[in-house]
């Protein structure tokens, strides 16, 4: 048998618990997503990003640690599609590194998003700095 104090406490808690369950069923965002939410639009620059990352990966084969570190930062900032692979690259390592400045500049010229233009242009300048530091430009 419940004591008087316990019985009063259960009577107070029960409506609150029932109320909480009701709210949970109505507002659960997983069970009831707003029907008007449109799918995220495709990034119009994704092809530029993926082609640029493929060019970086293609140019990076056999790169010294400084270049690998630099391009790791660049790739992370560009956020390519998962699974992008290295583009086929001609010439020696130095030629590929010099050509990468052109590839980054060209990509910056094609990009639509101003922030991506800034990112790619700055990456080109970073690559040019590293080439100068190694006496390649």
């Amino acid at each position: 048998m419940l004591s008087r104090r316990t019985a009063v406490g259960a009577a107070v808690v029960a409506p609150l618990a029932a109320s909480a369950c009701s709210a949970s069923e109505v507002l659960d965002p997983v069970k009831a997503p707003p029907p008007s939410t449109p799918p995220a639009p495709a990034n119009p620059d994704q092809s530029v990003i993926d082609a640029t990352v493929a060019a970086i990966l293609g140019a990076d084969e056999g790169a010294p640690a400084a270049f690998v570190q630099l391009h790791g930062v660049h790739i992370e900032a560009l956020a390519p599609t998962k699974g992008v692979t290295a583009a086929a690259a001609d010439g020696g390592w130095q030629q590929r590194q010099v050509a990468l400045v052109t590839a980054l500049t060209t990509a910056a010229g094609r990009a639509v998003d101003p922030q991506l233009v800034t990112l790619l242009a700055s990456a080109a300048a970073g690559q040019q700095q590293l080439l100068r530091a190694r006496g390649l430009a």
Partner: protein
């Protein structure tokens, strides 16, 4: 001329105005530097000056091609402070190149087509010149 074309040409004109200033300041810094006492700095300043003159010509050519009169230089520009020593001159020149890099980077998205390509090419050159003046490579110069 479309609005986009106009904005693009304005970006090139803004870069041209920056080059006018850079040429004036670098010329002044070069005049304060002894080629016998500080040959490396004197050479770096001379090369930077020459490259900025070439940049100015390239930018002016783009503006003229758009059928617009290139922005004219001012008669005089403010010189940076702290340029009484060789070290101060070198630091001022490096600051100028860093500022120019940041300016080019801010202007590039406003330009289109060959204007944008030119601005990025000049951005790369000014970023590389930072190393001649004691700067270090960074992943994203100008940011």
């Amino acid at each position: 001329m479309t609005t986009a074309d106009s904005a693009s040409t304005e970006a090139v004109q803004a870069a041209l105005a920056v080059e006018h200033s850079a040429i004036y300041v670098l010329g002044s810094l070069g005049g304060l530097t002894s080629s016998s006492a500080a040959p490396a700095l004197a050479q770096a300043l001379t090369e930077a000056y020459d490259e900025h003159v070439r940049a100015r010509e390239a930018l002016a050519t783009h503006v003229v091609a758009a059928g617009i009169e290139p922005v004219a230089p001012s008669a005089v520009y403010d010189l940076p402070g702290g340029i009484g020593t060789e070290k101060g001159v070198g630091a001022a020149a490096l600051r100028l190149e860093r500022d120019t890099t940041a300016t080019y980077l801010s202007l590039a998205p406003k330009a289109t087509g060959s204007d944008r390509t030119l601005l990025i090419q000049l951005l790369c050159r000014t970023a590389a010149r930072q190393l001649d003046l004691g700067g270090k490579p960074t992943a994203f110069p100008g940011t």
